[in-house]
Symmetry: C2
Subunit: 527 residues, 2 copies
């Protein structure tokens, strides 16, 4: 009788239990990870230094070098192994801002909330304002000889509407369900913040501006208001502002209210004068930049690697807090949690854990792509579609990335990799109480996991709470420590640490999506 009950139990329970048990979850390790990640979190401390003291971290800037030194030192102190820099490049020149002020002086005085675009050269002076209204070469010709010593208004007014919607939000069931139900990701182009719209006319326009030598070209924050200004890099006629020898017109982005006021007074026919003083310097003559790499060595499978990382660089008008001290903090903190967990449990990771803090992300994932080119694949010139793979491409089980602001993890973008779904589902199960449960077949664009995805290595970005990332902090002058939510960073570090360790302890590497290089495709076509 007993046996028959057992048999019945087995009959009913086993398929379910098997399905659940397929992917191992180590509760003991998760308990330690939670202890070090949630109860003994260092996320606020790490993020504080990375922003208040070592921000901003513009690629190429002396401040990024200081931040890099601090990160290496900190990782070594914690006990990370093989802490080192890996060069990529040449990136071009660095840029350092040492003084900026701008004022309206007529028809009335006011200090202007404004920021130079990165790589703008020094300029000092005062002058009138001219609105450059030219959609073609003929219209442009009318301004010939008229812009020297002037401030050029480059934008029309942007109408500001009152903020009836909150700046920040968290996901709700509706928005999470939408992601859970999302179809396969569709490739989408990455927006290049550094050199917008280099159409033919734009090239002519920026060459004209470089020749005419206005004091500065002014635009207004393309979104945001009330003192929040979104700013990135200077535009040029051709190439990138950071290229050695590139002639850059001083470019300044104004708060929308101040820009609109100046524009309206010009429209009223009033004389509008401004003054500017911008002191900047180009730095870093060798043009090479560096990613920070640090490891926790594996054991029986130590030649296989689990990578986790985030970009460490930022734009320049704040301290790069949500973009991306948040992600870098979470990844450093995950490393620290892993070190503590390994120490306390005695359980060693089978695969090697490798932390990467990338640079040059803001100019086009340059650091991670440099790393990929060094380790994973050969690329044709000016392409990020690999021609052929290097052996190390096979040895990376997964890359986990964080770069969508300060919001905690609500799940994972599967990046079109359906086979990892049951694995991640099992690994997320213990973190349901921390609100991380959703898997989406979709992806997010624009950050370093794409570099791995592009060479056939499973690369994942986590689903994060949106918070005020796109509304207020991403690439803005207000991307400061105060807009980090430290408890959210602690939650994210805890989950990342668990994912990394479970990936490292697994019998198999993570399943990969079908992937073919350009060479393999050509071979296949021949057959």
């Amino acid at each position: 009788m007993k046996n028959r009950v057992l048999l019945l139990l087995l009959l009913f329970v086993t398929p379910f239990a098997l399905a659940q048990a397929q992917e191992k979850v180590n509760d003991e390790l998760n308990a330690l990870i939670r202890k070090h990640g949630l109860e003994l979190s260092q996320a606020g401390e790490i993020a504080g230094w990375m922003t208040d003291v070592y921000g901003p971290r513009l690629t190429g800037s002396p401040m990024l070098d200081k931040a890099t030194d601090w990160a290496q030192k900190t990782l070594k102190e914690w006990g990370m192994k093989n802490v080192h820099l890996e060069s990529w490049g040449p990136f071009g020149r660095g840029w350092e801002l040492s003084h900026f002020e701008m004022h309206a002086t007529a028809p009335s005085y006011f200090p202007i909330i404004a920021y130079p675009k990165a790589w703008s050269p020094s300029v000092k002076g005062s002058g009138e304002v001219v609105y450059l209204q030219a959609g073609n070469e003929e219209e442009l010709a009318a301004y010939k000889g008229k812009l020297a010593g002037k401030f050029v208004l480059f934008d029309t007014i942007r109408v500001v509407t009152e903020g009836f919607e909150p700046n920040a939000r968290r996901h709700d069931a509706e928005s999470l369900l939408e992601m859970a139900n999302a179809p396969e990701p569709t490739p989408r182009p990455r927006r290049n913040y550094n050199n917008l719209g280099n159409t033919n006319f734009n090239q002519i326009l920026w060459q004209f501006l470089a020749d005419e030598q206005p004091l500065a070209v002014l635009d207004r924050s393309y979104k945001g208001d009330l003192g929040t200004v979104f700013v990135s890099g200077a535009r040029t006629a051709e190439g990138r502002a950071q290229q050695e020898g590139q002639k850059v017109v001083p470019q300044v982005t104004l708060s929308v209210e101040h820009y609109n006021q100046i524009f309206r007074n010009l429209q009223r026919g009033l004389p509008v004068t401004l003054s500017i003083e911008l002191q900047s310097a180009y730095t870093n003559p060798d043009g090479m930049e560096h990613n920070i790499i640090a490891e926790i060595p594996g054991t029986d499978l130590k030649d296989e690697v689990v990578m986790f990382g985030a970009h460490f660089d930022s734009w320049h008008t704040a301290t790069g807090a949500t973009d991306n001290a948040a992600g870098s903090t979470v990844m450093m903190e995950a490393a620290r949690i892993l070190l503590e967990t390994i120490k306390e449990s005695g359980i060693k990771p089978r695969r090697t854990l490798r932390l990467a803090l990338w640079t040059g992300e803001e100019q086009g994932l340059l650091g991670s792509r440099g790393y990929s080119k060094e380790h994973f694949a050969d690329f044709p010139p000016n392409s990020f579609t690999p021609q052929s793979l290097k052996p190390a491409q096979k040895s990376v089980s997964a890359y986990y990335n964080l770069d969508n602001g300060t919001g905690k993890i609500r799940g994972v973008y599967l990046q079109g990799n359906a086979e990892v779904a049951p694995i991640f589902r099992a690994w997320l199960q213990p973190f349901k109480d921390l609100d991380a449960a959703t898997l989406s077949m979709s992806n997010t664009g624009g950050t370093d996991h794409l570099t791995f995805d592009a060479v056939g290595i499973p690369g994942f970005q986590f689903i994060q709470e949106p918070m005020a990332y796109f509304a207020r902090t991403h690439h803005s002058n207000m991307d400061n420590f105060d807009h980090l939510v430290v408890e959210d960073l602690a939650q994210a570090a805890t989950i990342v640490a668990s994912f990394v360790l479970h990936t490292a302890l697994r019998d198999e590497m993570l399943p990969r999506k079908p992937f073919e290089t350009e060479e393999a495709k050509k071979e296949a076509e021949k057959r």
Copy 2:
């Protein structure tokens, strides 16, 4: 049979019709008012000049004088009569800002979003930061001799939380019902923005600071974030910063993020240095200020007056858009609508219509109180409770005020005057489609209708949509034209014009609340 139906109809309809008809509403005039106020609105044009060109309008400043000239000229051009200035004062000295910049120079460079408090003197220099942590004289003594040439941090960190609530809102049924059901108003003290908390220790503290001569005393915006900074006047040990001969310590309010960053780095034990350059001048040696008065003459009851107005002055870090170009625009526009309506209809107001644009409101309703003292009552020294009344107090039927930002009118605060309720109810009836319908027995504090209420003249502030007034624009650096909602101003001007004209055409003056002067009270006690 016909007669019996008529009789029945009369029996049932008349009491209701009478109640409704008690207060006359002139539909023909309202149609013209709507045409000129809504279809042919000039509110955006007026507000644009008042802010972009003639803002800020700090009381005593040369810019306020220019704005005053413009307003007078504009009112005369429209055809207003008896346009003139009426002096009040002495107010003290004016203040004009001609340059301001502030920078963090260590541990890293960044331009600081900050504003000098009004009446701060010129200062230029760079130096270290010291946190002044003193709650009593003994603790203060520890800083003796240590503050000269330093920047004094005056506040602790303010924790910033993410903006899950919108900046701006409009009323909904719930908030309007709350006002409709509100009890009699309770008197509440007006917050004095100019000289906060002059307790004994504060006097000692500010005298100490004046003696020690730091470069500047720094605090952080007491609310707001993301680039919005709330700033008003400088503090002093005794008296007001605008008083001739008053020694003022340079005082600067920083954006909360920048202040917090400086504060945290100081807590980390890092050297923090800043630089400042503030150029300001004291102006207006005679110390007298002016209200702007303009009239549309009445006819058979021309010695009686209907007043409508708003304060014209502002704080200094933006262009005083919602506080209170909004109200001043609405009142000027109401005057223009009235002129057009009178011209087109041929109907003349019986009572005289008098527009008043007050100054010195931000320093304590000083302009309207000066006007009241001149025309309506005698006051004991340093008191706003009238001792005895002047004859003109009897001749003002009502005063209508607007000073709660850019939001349209949703009703009227009755200021405890129950007898005006049915009158205002009737006058609002035609504007139900414009969402103005609520009467509240409550009041709002803090603006010039209180001056009239204090001398027994019916003074009313309209109920307005809250918008982002208290969250973002009121006394902030972002109180700019872009945060005006021009359609809302047009709606308000339309309703104000109708109220003013109906008040002027009424057979009787508006009913008054019971009111006794101090003298009358004493007389009553004697009896």
